[in-house]
Amino acid sequence: MTSRPSHIGAHVARVEDDRLLSGGARFVADVSLPGMLDAAFYRSPLPHALIERVDTGEALQVPGVAGAFTADDMTDVSPFPDFHRTARPVSIFPLARGKVRYVGAPIAVVVAPDRYGAEDARDLVSVDLEPLDPVVSVDEALAAEAPLLYPEWPDNIVIRSAVTNPEAIAEFEGRMTVSGRYQVGRHAGVPMETRGVAAEYRDGRLTVWTSTQFPHIARTMLSYCLPLDETDIRVIAPDVGGGFGVKAEFYTEEVTIPWLAMRLGRPVRWIEDRREHLISACHARDLTLDLEVAVDGDGRFRAVRGMAIQDLGAAEMYPYGFSPAFAAVSHITGPYRIPHQSVGVIAVATNKTPCGAYRGFGIPEATFATERLMDKAADRLGIDRREIRRRNLIGRDDLPYRTSSGAIIDSGSHREAFEETVRLTSESLDRWRARLAGDPHLRLGSGVVSYIEGVTPSYYSTSGHWTSFDSCSVRMNPDGTAVVSVGVSTTGQGLESMLTSLAAEALGVGRHQVRVVMGDTDRTPYGLGSWGSRSTNVASGALREAADVVMEKATRIAAHLMEASPDDISVHDGRFGVRGTPGASVTWRDVATVANIRTTDLPEGVKPGMEATASYDPPGIEHHPDEYGRVNGCATYTNASHGAVVSVDVGTGKVRVLEYIVAHDCGTVINPQIVRGQVVGGIAQGIGGALLEKLHYDEWGNPMSTSLLDYHLPTATEIPNMVVRHFQSPAPAMPWGAKGAGEAGIIGPAPAIAAAIEEALSDLGVAEITRTPITAPHVLSLVTSSVSGGRQEDRGDHR
């Protein structure tokens, strides 16, 4: 049995586009049920306080109000289980119990026939808070006598992983060392659709619509928190308006709203507003890497040591906010031959919004630090910044290569992608120099960086519970069309289209004959959802196994119908043929009709029906790090090099990215347009994080970025044209040879832009850029301090 490749690598239209373009999509906010109520939360206005009293009496007097509740009412609710063995338990509960640890923590919830009424009543909830001293930075949190966020702990440390690898330490003897403290600022995914939950409890079953990246995990978590069996819970993730990791957290509101629906016997909905989103959906990054490298005189890195220091916020986030710090540690060496590593983690609770996931998940932070150290070492040694990378990059002869972080890199184009990026970036810089010559305020520069992105990761280190598999079910209808249902779900990446193509490929049917079902726990087999650049890998692996079972059976039936040997059967575009017998042919409809309806025509020994379910666990993934924190936590590794060409206005500090170059390798490209969209979209977010986006807090722990007017997302005028080159080094162990592409773009911009700014200002001798976002005032201060006082350390606000 063979099928001719027809969809892989081809430009094919997305199946989801028509409904999204015409207003026909269905997001959570579009779910409307008879008698539905709207909820509004009373959230803490203080960063750190004891809850003395909550009075909902006045709120309940508002006509139409159906209820107002606090944690005390939730007697049948269990806190989130604390799965992680070495992290301190935080026992997350849907509404605050006794204490609040960040501005935005939910204290009470009010329910009314519409959101207007719910907010009116919510404003009448009276809460007495006893303020406590806030802890707003890692330094404050670790200080002796620091106020404790969790009084039952001896300090504010949520998890600490001390690593001392003697082989790494020994490398530092007698070698030049270069060190730095690199801080990626607090920002977040900020999808255009905020979070939202709707729930209905009817006939003993709970149905929950939620804007999530993992409906099955959400269902399991609901069963842990509510007095319901999993079979009585259905979670639906409808169209999701962007996730980026923000919706790969299980939130307290996802318990509160279903609980209200059960308690009140009416459907209840909560749609997060943007202010709520910016203070209560997970924040991310806020990670400092304090690193030192031992370097040979020719620029070869020998070892890296240090700490990843994570400001977790209030730590009330599941899956855990400290996981990106561990992911950073496992990506510290990037695509470079750095033989030894000894890097630990400390994650600390502070009175800010809890941190969680954001696209990139620790890898942007690691790459920022390592690439900055490459530049610093090159400058120190008087080696060209490109050349020092050449001396350290792994090449094809090195593969498979196990990095000292533990990653097993089995394929890639690390050197080729780098050289291509260097060439294109240099050409771009020359073009822009010619175009902008004559502007006395503008300095131009470029930076080139490289990285690996572990894709299709273990979820164990992140969740302490789930591992890495996913599932697919393939069912052939009697008319020969296919229903393909998967445990992953979409947040807009185009997964429906990807799986439609792959199913058409595997089953030998047309794309129009495939319907992909996802995002509904009642209609799909168990799976872990869409995050970690995993969906195409895991879903296609399961799809291939399920399709193989279906095809084996279909081939036997087709052979029987055409009186041929199964070995001679081929299938293409919905039709089975016999090799060497041009006239013979039966359609998928014929075969599926026999399997499902006219079962008397089945060959002997073949059972009726035409469906199969398979699970797929990607090979090679390790779930537990060794004593030095090393782990091959991902199924495979995408690689890329990025080049940024920037102008810096020395009068204002304004940085403009003029052009952005990327050479990207995610193995086999199944859908070029979707891969490009993922890479370019990720770079745009990376540029935002590098230059614009900051979730700022004042010194008392008040959030200052509470609207899109003071949290600056990049617009069409800040994102430059991009040059994208694809290399294709197939992953040997992955179905179709594909590697994930979802997160790669976001990893490169911060270090590439930082290097480009430094190059642009090189004649001024400015201080090293060590933190993001690199805002205009920050750049201006580099310029002015260099002119007035020569080379200085970059002292920024480290909050």
């Binding site: 586009d17 997001f27 579009d30 979707i674 969209g677 979209g681 990720g682 609207s707 069409a716």
Partner: protein
């Protein structure tokens, strides 16, 4: 008012936002709410032919106006040329912001945006978090018959 060419008569709370009237009273859920402050553009509709942020306009202010939503610019069969260009050029991913871009574009004169820079300026009133604007820009330039 009239909405997508249909006359509509409603009695409204004075404080109800136009976007909520469209979504809840009229079931036109293609118009999305992204910020409720007029900064993201997802809720853009045409009021008397001009792009307006329906999250910062009251429903009662639309009295006597012609309102057009994304449903109203969509042909009965298929897609309009700009929608088709978005599809052809991967001008959308999650699609949440897309109706706001489409309505904004439906309410402007291409000649007022003669070059790429001015088109970017036009698009900068709407936020998209998925595409990096590349596909959107490609789509607009193609639909307007421009070379990139």
């Amino acid at each position: 008012m009239s909405v997508n060419g249909r006359p509509i008569e409603l009695v409204l709370d004075a404080r109800k936002l136009l976007v909520d009237v469209l979504r809840e009273d009229l079931g036109l859920t293609g118009t999305h709410i992204g910020c409720e402050q007029g900064s993201c553009g997802a809720c853009t509709v045409l009021v008397d032919g001009r792009p307006v942020r329906s999250c910062i306009m009251l429903g009662v202010q639309a009295e006597g106006c012609d309102v057009t939503t994304v449903e109203g610019i969509t042909p009965e069969d298929g897609l309009n040329p700009m929608q088709q260009a978005f599809k052809d050029h991967h001008g959308l991913q999650c699609g949440f912001c897309t109706p706001g871009f489409l309505t904004t574009l439906a309410g402007v004169t291409p000649d007022a945006y003669p070059d790429e820079e001015s088109v970017r300026e036009l698009l900068s009133g709407n936020l998209c978090r998925c595409t990096g604007y590349e596909g959107i820009l490609d789509a607009v330039l193609a639909a307007w018959g421009r070379d990139r």
